[in-house]
C-alpha cells in the first residue's frame, strides 16, 4: 500500500506551536500546568510542547510521562506488551491541570486507560487532552481539547506518526 504524507515537518511544528498557545489561553496562563505524554511518541510531543511553553512563559513547561499499559482493556487480546516508564514530575499531580499528550486519537481507549492511571496517582484539578492527529472512529465518549489536525480516515487505513527523536524522520502519513 502506498503512503501519503499529510503533515510535514513544518506543519507539525506549526500545529504544536498553536496547541501550546491554546493550552496557555485555556488555562489562563501557565500556573499548575503539567504535561503528561503517553509513551512512546506522546512523550516526545509533550517534551516539545513543554519547550514551546517554556519559551513563551519561562518555567511553565513541566513535563512527564504516563504509561497506560497496565490499565489497557485489550491486554488479553495481544502478545504481552512491555510497559514503559511512568515519570511524574516532583510536584505530583494533586490539584494540577494535567494535559495528556498523545500522537493519534482513535478509539479513545488509550485515553480511558490514562484517566484510570491518573486516578491511581492523585487527584488533578482538571484533565485536558492534546492530540497531534484526531482520526475519528471513537468508541468511547472522549474528545480532545487541543487537536493538531483532524484527519477523517477509514478504519482500514493506517495513520503513521514519525518523529525525528524516535524514527529519524518527521512526518504524518496515511496508508
Amino acid at each position: 500500500m502506498t503512503a501519503r504524507t499529510v503533515l510535514q515537518q513544518a506543519d507539525i511544528a506549526r500545529a504544536l506551536t498553536r496547541i501550546s498557545h491554546e493550552i496557555l489561553e485555556s488555562n489562563r496562563g501557565s500556573s499548575d500546568l503539567v504535561l503528561l505524554g503517553i509513551p512512546t511518541r506522546g512523550v516526545v510531543l509533550a517534551r516539545r510542547i513543554g519547550a514551546i511553553l517554556d519559551s513563551i512563559e519561562p518555567g511553565s513547561g513541566t513535563v512527564g510521562a504516563l504509561d497506560v499499559t497496565m490499565y489497557r482493556d485489550d491486554l488479553a487480546q495481544q502478545p504481552t506488551r512491555a510497559p514503559s516508564p511512568t515519570d511524574i514530575p516532583p510536584g505530583g499531580i494533586d490539584g494540577k491541570t494535567i494535559v495528556l499528550v498523545d500522537d493519534v486519537l482513535y478509539s479513545g481507549r488509550t485515553i480511558r486507560a490514562a484517566l484510570d492511571a491518573l486516578s491511581d496517582l492523585g487527584r488533578p484539578r482538571a484533565v485536558r487532552l492534546a492530540a497531534l492527529v484526531d482520526r475519528g472512529h471513537r468508541e468511547l465518549p472522549i474528545r480532545a481539547d487541543f487537536v493538531g489536525k483532524n484527519l477523517p480516515s477509514s478504519a482500514d487505513e493506517r495513520i503513521n506518526v514519525r518523529l525525528m527523536e524516535i524514527d529519524g524522520v518527521e512526518e504524518v502519513s496515511i496508508q
Binding site: M70, Y71, L75, A76, P79, T80, R81, A82, P85, L121
Partner: protein
C-alpha cells in the same frame, strides 16, 4: 512466556525485559495507591509443599498488587497430608479455575511435571523445587545487582563483565543453580567457592570457575559476594566437621568483610544463619542488600506474573 520453570529457559532478551518490567513495578510500590488493575479476574494459586515465608508472601503481595485473586494452599493442613497425589491436587485446582500456579515442592522437577502433564492448563511458576531451581530468586538477585550498579539508568542493561562470587552450600542450593544460568545469560562471570563436600560431584558444563578458598576469592575483589544459607534441613551427612570450622573457613566474617572493596555488595537469599555463613556485622552492613532483595522480590514477581498472565495465549 507460558511457564517459568528454570532460568535455563530464559533468553537474554526475556531476562532484560523482565528486569525492565520489574523497574516499572518497583515504581508502583512507591506510590500511594500500590495497585494496578492489570490481572483483575485472574486467579493465582500459591501451592506450597515446603515451608516458606518470604517467597510465599512475596508472591501473594505481587499478585494482589496486580489485582489478581490469590489462593494460598499449604500442604500442611490440606488433603495432601491425607495422601492426595500431586495429580489430584493439580486437577482440583484446575477445576477451580486457577490461571497460574506458583509451586514450591521438595522434589526437583515437580513444577516441570505439573507443566508437562496436561493435568492443569494454568501457567506454572517454579518457586523452588528440591535442589533444582528457584528462578524468581535469581531474577531478583540480578535485578538487585543491576540496580546497585546502574541506579536509575538500569533499564535495558545486562550484567556484562560483572564478577560474582557465590559462596557456600552449592550442592543443595537451588538458588545457586538458577543464579549460575541467569548470570551467565546476562554476561556476568561466576566463581563458586565452597568446601569440596558441598559442591556437586561434577560442575562440567556449568559456566563457572570453582575454588575452595574464600580468602583468595575475597582478595580477588569481586563485584558481588553472594552467601548461601547452610540448609540444616538437607544436611543428612557430615559435610563439614562443625559449625565453627565452617564459619571460620567459609563464613563472611567481619575481617573478610573489611577486606572487600567498599563498592562490592554482599547478598544473601535469606533466611540467614547469623554467625554461621555470615556475621551479624556483614549482614547489617551498608554493603548488604538483604532487605533490598526482599523488596525487589515483589517487583520481580509482579513482572513474572504480568508476563505470564497479561498477554494473549500464544
Amino acid at each position: 512466556m507460558r511457564h517459568l520453570l528454570s532460568t535455563m529457559d530464559v533468553s537474554r532478551d526475556l531476562a532484560i525485559s523482565l528486569l525492565d518490567t520489574a523497574e516499572d513495578m518497583a515504581d508502583v510500590s512507591t506510590r500511594e495507591v500500590k495497585k494496578l488493575p492489570t490481572l483483575r479476574g485472574k486467579t493465582v494459586v500459591n501451592l506450597f509443599f515446603e515451608d516458606s515465608t518470604r517467597t510465599r508472601v512475596s508472591f501473594e503481595v505481587a499478585a494482589k498488587r496486580l489485582s489478581a485473586d490469590v489462593i494460598n494452599f499449604a500442604a500442611k493442613g490440606s488433603s495432601v497430608s491425607k495422601g492426595e497425589s500431586l495429580k489430584d491436587t493439580a486437577q482440583t485446582l484446575a477445576a477451580m479455575g486457577a490461571d497460574a500456579v506458583v509451586i514450591r515442592h521438595s522434589a526437583s522437577g515437580a513444577p516441570r511435571v505439573l507443566a508437562d502433564s496436561g493435568w492443569i492448563d494454568a501457567g506454572i511458576v517454579n518457586a523452588g523445587d528440591g535442589t533444582h531451581e528457584h528462578p524468581t530468586q535469581a531474577l531478583l538477585d540480578a535485578f538487585t545487582v543491576r540496580r546497585n550498579l546502574h541506579g536509575s539508568a538500569s533499564r535495558g542493561k545486562a550484567l556484562d563483565g560483572v564478577r560474582v562470587t557465590i559462596v557456600g552450600d552449592i550442592l543443595h542450593s537451588r538458588v545457586a543453580r538458577s543464579n549460575v544460568w541467569l548470570l551467565d545469560t546476562l554476561g556476568a562471570t561466576v566463581n563458586l567457592v565452597a568446601p569440596a563436600t558441598l559442591l556437586p560431584v561434577s560442575t562440567v558444563g556449568w559456566p563457572v570457575t570453582v575454588s575452595y578458598d574464600l580468602d583468595e576469592a575475597v582478595d580477588a575483589a569481586p563485584d558481588v559476594v553472594m552467601m548461601l544459607r547452610i540448609q540444616s534441613e538437607r544436611m543428612n551427612a557430615a559435610f563439614f566437621p562443625n559449625a565453627r570450622e565452617y564459619a571460620r573457613q567459609w563464613g563472611l566474617d567481619d575481617e573478610r568483610l573489611a577486606r572487600l572493596p567498599a563498592a562490592s555488595i554482599v547478598m544473601h537469599p535469606g533466611p540467614m544463619n547469623r554467625g554461621l555463613e555470615i556475621s551479624s556485622r556483614a549482614a547489617d552492613s551498608a554493603q548488604s542488600t538483604v532487605l533490598e532483595q526482599v523488596a525487589n522480590g515483589v517487583s520481580i514477581r509482579m513482572a513474572v506474573l504480568y508476563h505470564l498472565l497479561a498477554g494473549a495465549d500464544s
